[in-house]
């Protein structure tokens, strides 16, 4: 309403100038998370809004042999359009399960990661891919892991005047790549959960197992992952039960009964690929 102002910088330099002047401004990228729960005629914004949609420097992807860099203002659809050959499989699968096409055309990678209410879809695959985030400020930049970008309690690890510019995904090859979504695929809902699992093997040994889940809570335990890392393949039924028990215990309080059961089942399902039954 009256008094609100929108600023639309076209370069990062312009952005930093504006945000220095208006440190409390809302940073607007795709806007889907801000708008999706406002069904009134007019959108309610805070007093100042900085739209970063027109900043090309953070809207493009680049790739080297060692990593894939995604611009934080890239939309989900733009990332998916990079194709199956470029995007790591577990991320690619998650993108396909993301909301509906119209929303994929608007929602951005950065916006999805920075949702404070809960960890949204992309947080899960990017987290297990050990992606790092470039946080820019006027005077330079720093790289932080996802776990520091958004803390488990939803606290955002970037300061005023800073902006998430890029997400860097290491080009690791995993033999096992699994992504599933439970609950509504199309709209965020308390019953929605995203599950991802990756595993590397080497010389008959499970060398790198990673697994994460985001529902009402985000969950990943490196301690449990390390329990089975180094085990011989195929895993025995006992290995699987040990891991499942560990997750059951960890999750006892964190999730509602349905999501917890789904997570444990999904974990069992993922592990079954590494047992005699599923392992090739």
């Amino acid at each position: 309403m009256a008094g609100e102002s929108v600023f639309i910088p076209e370069t990062l330099a312009e952005f930093f100038t504006t945000s220095a002047r208006l440190p409390d401004a809302l940073i607007f990228a795709g806007g889907t998370d801000i708008l999706r729960t406002q069904a009134g005629r007019m959108i309610v914004f805070p007093r100042n809004v900085i739209s970063i949609r027109e900043i090309d420097e953070i809207s493009e992807a680049s790739r080297t042999e060692r990593y894939l860099d995604l611009g934080a203002a890239m939309t989900i659809a733009e990332v998916a359009d990079l194709g199956e050959k470029v995007v790591p499989p577990v991320l690619y699968e998650t993108l396909k399960l993301f909301a509906v096409p119209g929303i994929r055309n608007l929602a951005t990678v950065g916006g999805n990661l920075l949702c404070t209410e809960r960890r949204m879809d992309l947080f899960v695959p990017l987290s297990i891919l050990d992606a790092r985030v470039e946080v820019r400020r006027a005077t330079g930049s720093r790289w932080i892991p996802l776990s520091r970008l958004v803390a488990p309690d939803g606290r955002i690890g970037i300061d005023k005047g800073e902006i998430v510019a890029h997400i860097r995904i290491p080009s690791d090859l995993f033999e096992l790549n699994l992504a599933r979504k439970v609950g509504s695929h199309h709209y965020p809902d308390p019953a929605t959960g995203v599950f991802c699992c990756c595993a590397k093997t080497s010389k008959g040994i499970l060398s790198d197992f990673r697994l994460a889940f985001a529902g009402e809570r985000y969950f990943r335990s490196r301690d449990i992952e390390n329990v089975i890392n180094g085990k011989n393949l195929p895993l025995t039924d006992r290995d699987v039960e040990t891991v499942l028990d560990a997750y059951r215990e960890e999750l006892a309080e964190d999730l509602g009964p349905t999501l917890r059961q789904q997570f444990v089942n999904l974990t069992g399902w993922a592990l079954s690929y590494l047992t005699e039954k599923g392992y090739e």
Binding site: M1, A2, E4, S5, V6, I8, F28, G31, T32, L35, R36, T37, Q38, A39, G40, R41, M42, I43, V44, F45, V49, S51, R53, E54, A77, A99, V100, P101, G102, I103, N105, L106, H186, Y187
Partner: protein, 159 residues
């Protein structure tokens, strides 16, 4: 603020408030009423337009975000040859839409064919999954988009 964008091929400008939604600006300032202001929550898809060639719900786009973009509404799209393919497809399949979601379906079908000229049933259903309407009749819609794909291939490649 005043924003400039390309609307159905023309350079236009509009005076908008920060809280204005693109769908309302299109409907009220430009009288382009093919996009319906259905739910204001990005759920029903009735307000779909093409924004830089991508089908998006225009209720989820603040008007200011349309600055420097190219927007095509059903009114503009229906003047193109591309539209004739979709029209033919819908007519061949003999489906009846309620009129409220129709522009969304036409534009979404076009955006799909633009990227994927020969989509399978699954791709068609996925592409249209953001349009919630009680008139959705799944097999007819899939057939309509398939027919449209055939029409387009025939027009472009003569086969």
């Amino acid at each position: 603020m005043i924003i400039g964008f390309i609307l159905n091929g023309d350079d236009v400008s509009a005076r908008v408030e920060p809280g204005d939604r693109l769908v309302d600006v299109l409907r009220e300032q430009f009288r382009l009423i093919g996009a319906k202001a259905g739910c204001y929550a990005g759920r029903c898809g009735s307000c779909t337009i093409l924004l830089d060639s991508r089908a998006v719900p225009s209720c989820m786009v603040p008007a200011f975000a349309a600055r420097n973009t190219e927007i095509i509404t059903i009114e503009g799209f229906s003047q193109t040859v591309d539209y004739l393919d979709i029209e033919r497809g819908f007519q061949r399949a003999g489906i009846e839409t309620c009129g409220y979601c129709t522009a969304a379906k036409v534009l979404t079908a076009h955006a799909l064919l633009d990227k994927n000229p020969d989509p399978d049933d699954e791709a068609i259903r996925a592409a249209l999954s953001g349009i919630q309407c009680r008139c959705n009749e799944p097999s007819g819609l899939v057939a309509a988009v398939r027919e449209a794909a055939v029409a387009r291939q025939r027009r472009i490649y003569g086969r």
